[in-house]
């Protein structure tokens, strides 16, 4: 039976951490059972130096993903050796009390995405090994609070890695109202989750400007495109403001409407002024931003727009389209 990958990685990690001098590839190959097997032909199947080399490179990359700093050192004979130095791999001293430990415990559970869930528990386990108190989760008692960060978009993981490593990407993107997706070359800056949806902010190479993308509108695979950014990354990336303006939440004007008494609670909640007219109708002043016309039409005959004329015309157009069927 093939040796479990976790066993192989664990042995490589322990060898590299335990040594004080660089170990050559040959020494590592002869020390770790899984590598010995990779080189040795089994049942006629070709074990080879090549397959060992590929395995070894992949394993080093995997260990680096776990945070291990592996140094490559050349000795006087020109032979390459590897080691994971204590100084560069040790967690600096950190002392957390029981309350702080419990709070981190709650935070570590919110990810629903496999990679980040694994990384968050891994972080907590490293802290546990460093003496983080095994506190009782204060929320376990009544289980009231269950914050969850949803990640349903396939594009999330490749974009997260591209943001982390500052790698340009290429993906097909279908704009909200576009029939067909278009390829977009983007230097990804940051991902933000707002109201349960993920957005990417970055520099759009084709348009030569900053753009915000909604991950659910990315179709197909996210591909890496070369290395290095061409545009400077701003200190503050404002995803939420851009999305809020799409959603019409940034209003610079106000509108005057009539609303049937008792109807349209969300409009009342947003209103800056409400006047009861006493005839079954109220008059409301509400913020007027992008998309207000579509929202008002939802309330059908319970809303009448008074001002401004432009909004009134937009609402009438929409109502006519619906009336026509």
């Amino acid at each position: 039976m093939a040796i479990a990958k976790a066993e192989r990685l664990m042995n490589l990690a322990l060898c590299l951490l335990g040594t004080r001098r660089p170990l050559s590839k040959r020494e590592l190959r002869d020390s770790i059972e899984a590598y010995v097997e990779a080189v040795r032909p089994v049942n006629g199947a070709a074990g080879s130096e090549d397959s060992f080399n590929r395995m070894f490179e992949r394993d080093k990359d995997d260990l680096r993903e776990l945070g291990l700093v592996i140094e490559t050192v050349e000795n006087l004979d020109g032979e390459v050796g590897y080691l994971a130095r204590r100084d560069s791999n040790r967690l600096p001293p950190i002392t957390l009390d029981a309350e702080e430990a419990a709070a981190l415990g709650l935070a570590a559970k919110v990810w629903q995405q496999a990679r980040l869930a694994g990384a968050a528990s891994g972080a907590l386990q490293k802290l546990r090994a460093a003496g983080l108190p095994d506190g009782v989760d204060p929320y376990e008692a009544h289980g009231a609070l269950e914050p969850r960060i949803p990640v349903h978009e396939a594009a999330f993981e490749p974009l997260m890695l591209a943001c982390r490593d500052r790698r340009p990407v290429l993906f097909d993107y279908r704009k909200a109202s576009a029939a067909r997706p278009e390829p977009r070359h983007v230097e990804p800056w940051a991902l933000e989750c707002w109201r349960g949806h993920w957005y990417l902010a970055g520099f759009d190479r084709d348009r030569g400007a900053e753009r915000v993308f909604r991950l659910s509108r990315i179709t197909g695979r996210v591909r890496s495109r070369g290395t290095g950014f061409t545009a400077p990354v701003p200190d503050v990336v404002t995803v939420r403001e851009t999305v809020a303006s799409w959603a019409g939440e940034i209003a610079d004007r106000s509108a005057l409407i009539r609303l049937r008494s008792g109807a349209g609670y969300p409009l009342r909640a947003k209103a800056t002024e409400v006047r009861e007219l006493g005839d079954g109708w109220d008059e409301l002043e509400i913020p007027y931003g992008h998309g207000l016309d579509a929202w008002l039409v939802e309330f059908g005959p319970d809303v009448v727009v008074l001002e401004p004329a432009e909004l009134r015309a937009d609402v009438v157009d929409r109502l006519r389209a619906v009336a026509k069927g």
Binding site: A4, A6, E7, A13, L14, C15, G18, T19, I32, V36, L63, L66, L68, N89, R90, L91, P92, T95, A101, A102, L104, G105, L106, K109, L116, A119, A120, S121, G122, A123, Q125, K126, L127, A141, G143, L145, E146, P147, R148, I149, C163, R164, S177, A190, E192, C193, R195, V239, R258, D279, E283, V297, E298, G300, V304, L319, A321, V322, A323, G325
Partner: protein, 343 residues
Amino acid sequence: MAGKPARTVNAIDQTRRMLSLVTYLRERPGARIADVARAFGISEDELVADLDLLPMCGTSFRGGDLLDIDTDGERIWWHNPAALGEEAAEPLRLAADEATALLVAARAVSTLPGLREGDRQALLRATAKVETAAGEAAGASSRLSVTFESEGGVFADVDRAISERRRLWIRYYSPARDEVTEREIDPIRLVSVGHTYVEAWCRRSEARRTFRLDRVAEIRILDEPSAPPEIELRDLSEGLVQPAAEDPEVVVEVGPGGRWVAEYYPHDSADELPDGGLRITLRTPDPASLRRLALRLGPDGRIVSPPDLAESARRAAREALAAYDGPVGAVPGAGGGRSERSA
């Protein structure tokens, strides 16, 4: 080899865990399986699988100094802790992904309005300490952020009612009917999936209901104890709206400008149309609630079936249009118009 990536992730997670585990166990001879599994946030089976694997691992040179760790099913014994040299036994620094995952989650949770102030302070202190300890690895965490929806006062009241096991009175807005209703609910848990919801037993409908906190118009904690029946909690990770197979079917056709419908409404199918639009088939227990959607879509889409739903949207639009015939502000059923206001 569809299963391969998942296995790769597991091997990495397991290696990461075992590296911490050896450091942890070295300090705690005779540690109990149950305690260690809880401290590491894993099942006892997962821990036992790690313990089966560790005796195959060592710091160098085959067979020479393997870790002699075993368990009697209750406690864990390590017979040669010295086999793990001082170097390999140190707690490891955080990887960039680990720091990102923990810090982003901690920052998001610290903004949750329902968090008790003491816990928020503890979390902020912990976050600062982890940032310092992570050093450079913390840098990339600024490239990811999460904001939970915040309905502060409502959240705090629901959270308190759950911990004190008390019933709540709420005025709740249902967009489907555009009405605000009063009801008493026995809250079970708070869930944050984009928006924040309370899952509760609704005393008015005698059924399990999920209420979105930003739709709670008013809330009061009652003196009566909360007594929800024992119900199985659902896994809500796939979304809160889970239509049933027996719900009536609705077909909506949208143009390119209405494609967002497929993003917001869980649906059975969404077929591409030649004009760049979609034909979306979805199910809902209450098709009448989709009249709003038909109105909202305007020129960007229409209900195809059921026909009575399509007709009710057309009727509502015609009725609404009547108010715009004639002079500005001439509202049907209203005594006066715009002139009432001293502008």
